[in-house]
Symmetry: C2
Subunit: 413 residues, 2 copies
């Protein structure tokens, strides 16, 4: 195999149909940002959209904006804008609350739809909040949780017992970057009589998703990673239409009511995905999300996936001389938009990431030993991939990471 | 009684120690805003603070702001800034999620602290989401809800049965504006062996509150009414220190974990109010709240209360000639920062409010028959109260509200 050169990368950039999108993001000088899988970069349209909400809708029009600026329906209008990115009908997605709360709603709704099954299957290596929230939900429901490695035979074994109400998996593993076969797994879960909940946090905006076609029952995702909606931006819930009249989530606030402005004393959920809403949502944060979703309306997700695969492939090839372990699947079909590497010396991972950050290449570290690099096709160039890979190889080869200043741990890793 | 004149009001404004705060808010020309109890006005400092978060902390510093801009600790630093307004220690308040979710957490935590008591007492006329959320929580817990009128003998009667785990009441009734005796009610509830949860949505920022001194166990409040943090801004939870090691809420996300960055599989709640946190919070919205709380740090809440009482008193007196029913308690000690009136003709209430809005006096209507007027001492003048009262008397006397265009209902009332 002939190694790709920086010049080759520049040619790829010149021919890249997604290249113009880079100019729609704020990217600091001297930085190659490979952490968009943690916090997406700022769309240039966001500050203006937020300022307009604050100064015109809130400041000038005040409370009347609940009607005139569409505030009341924002969870639905944003849901409809997000729906194409997850292969859902517009009325199957609502935006609101955080990922943790929405996971809680989905797990309890699923347990209620299968009252004679008392097990929720989760995955051993899932992002902790998925595990913790499932723990909290099953405890309330007198159910139990069983954790498996979904990339091996354990899932099928767990389902065979016939007592599984629901399975909650991440579409892309936050640590390894493994991309799961949503269609195949959902089919297997349904064949066993269980419901399927997908966590899309690490795939939405980076990987084509077809929730309806692939049969998902519920899904939850955040918007601050590949969707670039800003730190802690509101999350979303997908509720398949077939569950709109029957799925009952417990955070039964007034925004999920069939007739919220009757102000009656009894909770009657509306027969749409809006029954997964609870209370009022932070509209200032919603405005940044809207700016980002309006940008995604012009994006062809197939091209995003093609470029993402090309970039992760390239990064894996170019960093091979560093001699790190490849944690992410080698098969591009089974890989999300990130590359995870492990250093043979368990003490070296964290300072290696810090040494790269000092060079302007921002990735992150996930305990116990994973160096994570996220690839966002909308604002990264192939030359960035080349430069980042070159930097990583140099940091490892030269031992630059051994500088004591790179060992100092920040509060949030 | 000699009727107060507009000139008298102008003199009161000239002598008002809170008057300078008016200049710190954006107030549209030609508007008298008496709906700050629904959505507070925009503090002038908010747009800049939000823009700085977006452009510098997010856009330039990206993911590193989780450490350098204090994002991770924001629920606690904002909680500490809010704590003085509710009479709590800094570590007893955390900011995050919405009112509905936080009510859910408090009700379930209270039920778990009293496992041999299975009743939650709520109030018949509470804001619907309080009722709906309680319904959702008791259903999950195999408990029941009993609703009473807390302003009469029913609460004591309900407590006498000895089966009440918790009582959830609003400090100020959203419709009538009645202000409850927090200290006395909390004592009575505790004497019966139950826990006390206060909803502060309609009192925080308008009425002095002493949660610790008055013995509250849990409290929840929103920040977008008298706290002026913007539409749907994040809510807060108060957890009395004595419950920090034992209160268990079910939305057990990673932000409530004792060691969140160990990324372990088992949920172990931290022994502080942070155990009431779940997931990441919308920091763009938090920035507007921070601007508002920094303003409140300079506010003497006793002066706010004095001016609020003077204003509601004045509005009641000046609107008496309109012949409307006074729904709000006549006794200022039992009144929040709002005046609620009812029109003898049940069809007249809504169009009367619309006719006032057409004149630039913004109040709101709450079904079935209440005209609500909120008084925000930080940005209202006594002359505003005079002009608003004069307008209301004219609209009622002249029958101006009968114009058909005022009968058209908006989606959000």
């Amino acid at each position: 195999m002939t190694q790709i050169t920086r010049e080759d990368c520049a040619k790829l950039d010149a021919a890249d149909p997604l290249a113009p999108f880079r100019d729609e993001f704020v990217l600091p000088d001297g930085v190659i940002y490979l952490d968009g899988n943690s916090l997406g970069a700022l769309p240039k349209a966001a500050p203006g959209r937020v300022a307009d909400l604050i100064e015109r809708e809130w400041g000038r029009d005040l409370v009347k904006s609940w009607n005139t600026a569409g505030w009341w329906d924002k969870p639905r209008t944003l849901g409809a804008k997000l729906a194409p990115l997850v292969g859902a009908a517009p009325h199957e997605v609502v935006v609101g609350d955080g990922t943790s709360a929405n996971l809680f709603k989905a797990v309890i709704a699923a347990l209620r739809l299968a009252p004679d099954r008392r097990v929720v299957v989760g995955e051993t290596g899932n992002f902790p909040t998925d595990l913790y929230i499932t723990q909290g939900a099953v405890e309330l429901m007198g159910a139990t949780e069983r954790r498996v490695d979904p990339d091996g035979p354990e899932l099928a074994e767990a389902l065979a017992a016939g007592d599984v109400a629901a399975v909650l998996l991440s579409h892309v593993d936050y640590r390894t970057g493994a991309l799961r076969d949503m269609a195949g797994i959902t089919r297997m879960v349904h064949d066993s009589g269980a419901l399927m909940i997908w966590d899309l946090c690490h795939s939405v905006g980076a990987v084509p998703i077809e929730l309806s076609a692939w049969g998902a029952d519920f899904a939850v995702g955040c918007t601050y990673k590949y969707l670039n909606a800003g730190p802690g931006a509101p999350a979303f819930s997908y509720v398949a239409e077939r569950h709109h009249a029957t799925a009952r989530q417990p955070l039964s606030g007034w925004h999920g009511h069939a007739r919220p402005f009757d102000f009656t004393g009894d909770y009657v959920p509306v027969d749409t995905a809006s029954r997964f809403l609870s209370g009022s949502q932070p509209l200032v944060a919603d405005a940044a999300l809207e700016a980002s979703l309006d940008l995604f309306a012009r994006v062809d997700m197939r091209r995003v996936r093609e470029k993402s695969v090309a970039m992760t492939e390239m990064f894996i090839d170019l960093t091979a001389p560093a001699g790190l372990g490849l944690v992410t699947p080698r098969d591009a079909e089974r890989r999300g938009s990130q590359v995870a590497l492990s250093h043979p010396d368990p003490e070296a991972g964290y300072p290696t990431v810090q040494a790269l950050i000092a060079r302007g290449v921002i990735g992150d570290f996930r305990a116990p030993d994973v160096l994570r690099f996220g690839f966002t096709p909308l604002y990264l160039r192939y030359v960035d991939v080349f430069d980042a890979a070159t930097a990583l190889v140099e940091v490892v080869r030269t031992g630059e990471w051994r500088d004591p200043r790179f060992a100092e741990r920040a509060q949030v890793t």
